[in-house]
């Protein structure tokens, strides 16, 4: 694949203020930023991958206990949050589209909507976390207790330790996901400000595009977390 981008160096360079000197063309710069972002998402996949590996191992070991612990989660809140994130994915996708077609104001509106949805997700997550504390479902605390039975075995109580492993993973995975959401909301706050100032145009909107890629990735992580954590053995 010989497609050396610098070969196409032309005078179109330097017409964009955001164009950096060491790139031959704006297109080269754009391609570099895009590849860089995708590689960063690869590292994120592997970062969450470590936790998914832990989840897989313990789900295999403690299948019934994971089912029981999963039942204690509020499925409505989880489902609503999934919907909230999907909506935010639509709004960020629309924000990029607005940037592409040069609709500045609409882009700001969509970014603000995204921030609102992100905060809504975090708020709902906060309610769920609070519930865990109230119900003593927080691992590592002496008061930890889960009053559930193994799905399909009404007289078998859940193993408290195995349930703690589940909740350890629950907090680690959703916590790490929430941290990514917080970073994302921060990013979008900055981008909204920039967009409002008019920093982005159909020629240059790379930061928006990359932040949006990141946001979609965070969304995809949740798309997997939701069934893995909330939907084990729900059937009666």
């Amino acid at each position: 694949m010989h497609n050396s981008p610098a070969a196409t160096a032309t005078h179109e360079a330097h017409q964009n203020p955001a164009h950096l000197h060491h790139f031959a063309t704006a297109q080269q710069q754009k391609d570099a930023a895009s590849l860089g972002m995708w590689l960063f998402l690869v590292t994120e996949v592997m970062f969450f991958g470590g936790m998914f590996c832990a989840y897989l191992v313990y789900r295999y070991w403690y299948f019934g206990d994971f089912g029981a612990a999963s039942k204690s989660l509020a499925i409505e809140l989880g489902a609503v949050n999934t919907a909230v994130l999907i909506c935010s994915s639509l709004t960020v996708a629309m924000a990029v589209r607005c940037a592409q077609v040069g609709k500045q104001k609409a882009m700001v509106v969509y970014l603000l909507l995204t921030i609102a949805l992100g905060l809504a997700f975090l708020g709902i997550k906060g309610i769920e976390y609070r519930e865990k504390f109230v119900q003593h479902h927080v691992p590592g605390q002496a008061s930890f207790h889960l009053d559930e039975h193994i799905p399909g075995h009404p007289d078998t109580p859940v193993n408290q330790q195995h349930a703690q492993v589940y909740f350890s993973l629950y907090f680690a995975m959703t916590g790490m996901h929430a941290l990514h959401m917080i970073i994302g909301v921060g990013l979008f706050a900055f981008l909204t400000y920039q967009a409002w100032k008019g920093a982005y145009s159909p020629e240059y909107y790379t930061p928006v595009e990359n932040a949006v890629l990141y946001w979609h990735f965070v969304d995809i992580v949740w798309i997997y977390l939701f069934p893995l954590l909330y939907l084990i053995d729900r059937h009666p």
Binding site: L20, A32, M46, F47, C53
Partner: protein
């Protein structure tokens, strides 16, 4: 900061373009960032080396008499953490790779200069945290952070050390990410994949490992910290967790990390062997593919660190088998380097001496790796000095030798000065002798059964004689490493000014002035030649005086 500080008549270079602290700390020039890294890496190399010397001195006698047991445990822990995370992993990529990759592919800079600077700052923050850890009393987990020892039992600064390693990991990830994008997107016209110097291929392979592997150790270390802080049960057997899961996640990165350390060295040796043999590399494509092969297959072998840890017998068989697969590309490389010398016109400048050392010592290191991959032998020699000797042959005998080869080879380009050739050759010889005396006895010690990380071996005084030899070697080795440090510094002021191409070597980096100007190339180079076109280069290597 004024830019016009160049004296009339003097050429403007990346070094004299600007002066002052700010011009360095806020630079986005990949060459200046490389020098910033060089300073940090040299500092940590000598810190880690100092710990190593203390370890060797303690082991001079069987009894634990020089330091306390706790202190000794901290010494080998911090020796490992400092050397691996703050020297071996960043050394070649962040110094030589940073300096050379853009030049070798005909670019003005890396794709993301500011992220490059961010990498350095992350490295420095992590390094500062590591230094804090050392000064605040140290940490004694062993560099491997094995649970549940690290999570439940030790009272030392595990968290700060873990955070330091975590942050240095992100420094490494960003460097790798930057390299991959640069190599994909910034190549000069005509610089096809088949014309890339192997040094660039090696860094491409290394970067893949950094990007794919490092995040996994990052999350493993985060979970250790969380488990220590909040008593989660993910790795704790008394809470239902499995300590071996940590080992899996840890070695998923930390075995490939060995290739992060050695593969860039392989790139250097390819450049050096070709130049001082005046020859094209033997089997360019096989060499490039072997680098990628090592990077990919290197991800399939991690549990060979866990053969006696309590993993399933069947998993052990799979991982042992896969471990032998990764040995094949390494074998190809050694044979191809050797064949490159065949019918060459060889001279023995310092970089070539180090390259000879690399080929020999890497061969021994690699072959002893086959002992460890053999399940039956591994039972006996794992966690003994045999392993210690093996990985020092790869890392010190291999990687550090290559690093020294590269430093001498490109020092004229970096500094614009020649190092003193005679001293260079002497140091190379001292390093080679000191190294073998230090580490060869450890193979024997290991087979005799001396476990690693032992402070006191008074129960087994038969180990002493070999330990004495090893310590004697370590002092020689120390001299061998201090010497270049001294004459490199000396040469910056008193060395002969270097010509643009002191070795008559092939490669874009030798077509520009030494030291280069800030944007490397005055005009966009167009590449029309294959790598290592020594048939087209008229001169020989100038004879050293």
């Amino acid at each position: 900061m004024a830019t016009a500080v160049v004296e009339p008549g003097e050429r403007e270079t990346y070094l004299n373009r600007e002066y002052g602290i700010k011009s360095w700390l806020l630079t986005v020039d990949h060459k200046r960032i490389a020098l910033l890294y060089l300073a940090g890496i040299t500092f940590f190399f000598f810190i880690g080396g100092f710990f190593a010397l203390l370890i060797r001195l303690e082991l001079l006698t069987p009894a634990g008499d020089l330091v306390q047991a706790d202190t000794y445990n901290k010494l080998f822990t911090m020796h490992g953490q400092v050397m691996i995370f703050f020297f071996l992993i960043p050394a070649v990529p962040a110094v030589l790779g940073n300096f050379l990759i853009p030049i070798m592919i005909g670019a003005k800079d890396l794709a993301f200069p500011r992220i490059n600077l961010l990498s350095w700052y992350l490295y420095i923050i992590a390094g500062a945290l590591m230094l804090y850890t050392i000064l605040a009393g140290g940490v004694d987990t062993g560099w491997t952070f094995y649970v549940p020892l690290s999570t439940e039992f030790l009272k030392t600064n595990v968290i700060t050390a873990a955070v330091a390693v975590f942050i240095s990991g992100f420094s490494s990830i960003f460097t790798g990410l930057n390299f991959i994008v640069t190599i994909h997107r910034m190549r000069a016209p005509g610089m096809t994949w088949n014309r890339l110097p192997l040094f660039v291929w090696a860094h491409y392979a290394t970067s893949i490992i950094q990007v794919l592997g490092t995040p996994v150790v990052a999350i493993a270390i985060v979970l250790v910290a969380l488990e220590r802080l909040f008593h989660l049960g993910i790795f704790n057997p008394t809470l239902g967790g499995d300590p071996l899961l940590f080992q899996h996640l840890f070695w998923f990165y930390s075995h490939p990390a060995v290739y992060i350390m050695i593969v860039p060295g392989m790139g250097i040796v390819s450049e050096v062997v070709c130049c001082f043999s005046r020859k094209r590399i033997f089997g360019y494509q096989a060499m490039a593919m072997a680098l990628l092969g090592i990077a990919v297959v290197g991800f399939l072998v991690w549990a060979h660190h866990m053969f006696v840890a309590g993993i399933s017998v069947y998993a052990a068989l799979i991982f042992s088998l896969l471990s032998y697969f990764v040995a094949v590309p390494s074998a190809i490389k050694v044979f191809n380097w050797t064949s490159t010398m065949y019918k060459g016109s060889i001279t023995y400048q310092t970089p070539m001496l180090y390259a000879f050392g690399f080929i020999g010592l890497f061969t021994i290191g690699g072959l002893t790796g086959l002992f460890l991959a053999a399940l039956g032998i591994d039972i006996h020699v794992t966690d003994t000095y045999f392993v210690v000797a093996h990985f020092h042959y790869i890392m010190v005998g291999g990687m550090v030798m290559a690093y020294m080869a590269g430093m001498h080879f490109w020092w004229p380009k970096i500094s614009g000065r020649m190092y003193p050739e005679g001293w260079g050759r002497l140091a190379a010889l001292i390093v080679f002798i000191g190294f073998n005396l230090t580490f060869f006895p450890q193979f024997i010690l290991g087979y005799m059964g001396m476990p690693r990380r032992y402070w006191d071996y008074s129960r087994a005084p038969e180990f002493q004689i070999l330990n004495v030899l090893s310590t004697a070697g370590a002092t020689i080795l120390a001299v061998g490493y201090l010497l270049p440090m001294v004459y490199f510094l000396w040469s910056m002021r008193y060395g002969k000014p270097a010509p643009d191409n002191p070795w008559n070597a092939a490669g874009l980096e030798w077509t520009i002035p030494s030291p280069p100007s800030t944007f490397n190339f005055d005009e966009q180079p167009v590449v029309t030649w294959e790598a290592y076109n020594y048939d087209e280069i008229k001169g020989e290597v100038p004879v050293a005086q």
